[in-house]
């Protein structure tokens, strides 16, 4: 909008006020909800005479989130983690009640193992592991001088945490809930509309190659985001849970369709570059009906259903066109190119139809039957990275234990506790040093606020109502900070520090010396966690881990080449997307590393998918023994190439491919297999792909692959 036409449209003061208020309402609604949960929990805990109402209140702070589904998901995993952790703490104390060295070793190991487990899973499941780790410490450490109390300690801890979780869940579900379901629905609608629009434009030839690759990046991110939201939404909404299977299938088909689109597009590009204009143009002509079919206005509600008959019509049109277009091919080689492309177009049309069908089933107000096909979104986990996390956490705990034993510091338990909590909580974040730093700053201010509140305000107050009145203003600052994205981490630290040191209970005791001793110990614990993160750098985001991830990505081709076929399709696509999403999140956009990564991913996607289809087709038909052997040798050689790319393996794969193709060429019954092999060969011979640097006539020191 230019400056001139702003004048008449200047919003009145009232509108500005309303807009501001609407924005602020969300923040303050969050603050009010969190405060409500906080004090209801506190009141109940004091009424039930739990020894540490502060713990229950702290729980509400930790699970606080704007979105109901997030609160419920986090609560669910927190409850599981606490149960397991309380049991583990109880066991550790029961095993080594008199042996401080063994006791501390066992505890360190347990916490380390749980932190490692958390690093394996990056969503809320990680949280259950974290909790299992530090709950054991929380249960065991305070009773170290009095082991017989451990059972009570575990039971109290469990009661307090469960109380906090129940109240948080009820409040966030009842009082002005904000549902992820709506976000997810909006995201899926947008994803669908974007994708259909994109396919339509590609089919019309309106999109440049670089844009297609960028779009592919975006699709991958979308697929992972949808999966993340789906795993939280099932806690919030029973309807959404019933649709969960369809959601998975929808996402799965989305991934498959976008991969095939990529392959098809690359194929046509390659044909054009090699001067096979006739075949390329015929293929473009072949899929044109799809563009017409998709050129329908997509609106909210029932839009997907509109597309189904049109797509069906387009499939028929494609079938009819195929014969005439094929007749126009002059040479046998063009014929082969055309057949290969036509097989891909058919596959793409079928997958697109299946995708739209699932979308229309999801959009329908009532769902019929089950999703039919059961799919899982599998993720790719790095065990070495998790091992490093485990080592770091266990080491931190070990060093602190040693310090505690040697110095015989009375507040050592507090230090250990805080170090455990923070080392666990931040183990799975991308940049833990920064997290610890932000949180520590908030924590420090929280302690200061708690000091003011505890020694200047609360002594003048009496009764629960006045406790609320006296502490709410201090707490509100932290809650408001949590609601703003910039200060969210510091806000969590502030609230934790405040609640932890305030330690509200039925009979408050005001002991300045104890307060500062304990505070000092807690700050030392925080510092220890921060130091550990700085000294044993986190694997996530480092060059080393990225290289490992790239290797794992390449090994996906081996998976496609040799894993058992049932369910492999979903497994291959979801692991690929997850890995790709991880790598993308950890590289700078547009950097050299990112470009080479995208190139590798596309190549792995394409070749892996084709290998899968090839194996599928092979499994369904009788083959002469020597042909089967030749094709299997070729599949193996290609997997070998991706595992260990260099000139020798490249040559080997290319020769095996040529041999297999020569064997079945001219045999009409083998034409589907030949088409797959042809796609593979074109991919291998593409001088713009990542494999180009391994071709013999080029020195292998230059090219994209080197940048990895």
């Amino acid at each position: 909008m230019s400056a001139t036409d702003v004048q008449p449209a200047t919003p009145g003061t009232r509108e500005i006020l309303v807009a501001t208020l609407r924005e602020e309402t969300i923040t303050w609604l969050f603050v009010v909800k969190s405060l409500l949960a906080f004090y209801v929990t506190g009141w109940l805990a004091m009424r039930l005479a739990l020894p540490q109402p502060g713990t229950a209140m702290l729980t509400t702070v930790i699970v606080a989130n704007r979105q109901t589904g997030m609160v419920l998901a986090k609560s669910f995993y927190r409850a599981i983690g606490t149960l397991v952790g309380a049991l583990a703490g109880f066991l550790i104390v029961a095993l080594f009640p008199q042996q401080r060295v063994l006791f501390l070793c066992a505890l360190s190991l347990w916490v380390g193992m749980c932190a490692g487990g958390a690093a394996l899973y990056r969503n809320f499941k990680a949280y259950a592991f974290v909790l299992a780790g530090y709950t054991a410490a929380i249960v065991a450490l305070p009773v170290i001088n009095d082991p017989l109390e451990v059972f009570n300690s575990a039971v109290w801890r469990l009661s307090e945490v469960l109380l906090g979780l129940a109240v948080s869940a009820a409040v966030s579900d009842l009082v002005f809930p904000s549902r992820i379901r709506d976000d997810l629905r909006r995201l899926c609608r947008a994803q669908f509309a974007n994708f259909i629009d994109f396919v339509q434009r590609v089919m019309c030839g309106k999109v440049a190659r670089a844009d297609i690759e960028n779009a592919h990046l975006r699709f991958v991110r979308d697929a992972v985001t949808v999966e993340d939201l789906r795993s939280s939404v099932i806690f919030e909404d029973p309807e959404a849970r019933a649709r969960s299977g369809h959601m998975l299938l929808f996402n799965q088909r989305f991934m498959a369709t976008s991969t095939t689109l990529q392959t098809l597009h690359h194929l046509i590009n390659r044909l054009k570059r090699k001067g096979h204009e006739a075949a390329a143009n015929a293929l473009i002509e072949l899929y044109r009906p799809l563009a017409g079919a998709l050129d329908a206005p997509i609106e909210a509600g029932g839009s997907a259903r509109v597309l189904l008959p049109r797509l069906d019509g387009a499939r028929h049109a494609i079938k009819q066109r195929k014969a005439t277009l094929r007749a126009q091919m002059n040479s046998a080689y063009d014929m082969l190119d055309f057949d290969t492309g036509a097989a891909l177009v058919d596959r793409f049309a079928d997958e697109l139809y299946a995708y739209v069908e699932t979308a229309s089933a999801l959009q329908a107000p009532k769902l019929f039957g089950t999703a039919g096909e059961r799919v899982r979104f599998e993720r790719s986990n790095d065990f070495l990275g998790a091992g490093l996390t485990m080592l770091r956490t266990a080491l931190t705990m070990g060093v602190l234990s040693l310090f505690w034993i040697i110095s015989a510091w009375p507040s050592g338990a507090s230090t250990m506790l805080l170090a455990t909590v923070f080392a666990g909580l931040f183990a799975a974040t991308p940049n833990p040093s920064q997290w610890v730093h932000h949180t520590s700053v908030g924590f420090f201010f929280g302690i200061c606020a708690s000091f003011l509140c505890q020694f200047f305000v609360l002594p003048l107050m009496d009764g629960f109502g006045l406790l609320v009145a006296g502490s709410a203003p201090f707490l509100m600052i932290g809650m408001a900070m949590m609601a703003w994205p910039v200060t969210a981490r510091a806000g969590v630290g502030y609230c934790m520090g405040f609640t932890l040191t305030l330690a509200a209970r039925n009979e408050m005791n005001y002991d300045v010396v104890f307060f500062w001793n304990d505070t000092l110990a807690q700050l030392a614990g925080l510092a220890a966690a921060g130091l550990a993160f700085a000294l044993v750098p986190p694997a996530i985001g480092s060059l080393w881990l990225r290289r490992r991830q790239l290797e794992r990505l390449r090994r996906q081709v081996r998976l496609a080449a040799s894993a058992p076929l049932p369910g492999l399709h979903a497994r291959f696509e979801s692991v690929n997307h997850d890995l790709f999403g991880q790598i993308v999140a950890q590289t700078e956009r547009g950097s050299e590393a990112s470009r080479s990564l995208v190139a590798w991913t596309l190549s792995v996607h394409e070749v892996g998918r084709t290998l899968l289809e090839l194996r599928n087709d092979m499994a369904g038909r009788p083959l002469p023994e020597e042909v089967r052997e030749a094709i299997e040798r070729c599949i193996d050689a290609i997997a070998q190439l991706y595992e260990d790319p260099d000139t020798a393996t490249y040559t080997q794969a290319r020769d095996a491919l040529a041999a297999a193709m020569a064997m079945i060429e001219g045999d009409e019954a083998m034409s589907p297999l030949l088409n797959h092999l042809h796609v593979l060969r074109l991919a291998m011979l593409d001088e713009q792909s990542v494999l180009a640097s391994y071709m013999q006539d080029q020195p292998s020191s230059q090219g994209v692959a080197h940048a990895t």
Binding site: V155, L162, D173, L174, P238
Partner: protein
């Protein structure tokens, strides 16, 4: 409701056990209702869940007088 229940000689607060049982029943109820789409006939599902939970929790405590 017994204040404490002895499990293998260790005293566990009765409230905690009934709470856990009530939560388990709530999850089961939620799953069944969600599975058959019965929340469609309810004005405020979250309120229904809370009410159901309060009834079960209170009923369990009352029944084991």
């Amino acid at each position: 409701m017994p204040r404490e229940i002895a499990i293998g000689g260790a005293l566990v607060p009765g409230l905690l056990l009934w709470f856990l049982l009530a939560v388990a029943l709530l999850l089961l109820f939620d799953w069944v209702v969600g599975r058959y789409g019965l929340y469609r006939y309810v004005w405020h599902p979250a309120l229904l869940r809370l009410a159901f939970f309060v009834c079960i929790f209170g009923g369990l405590a009352w029944l084991t007088l």
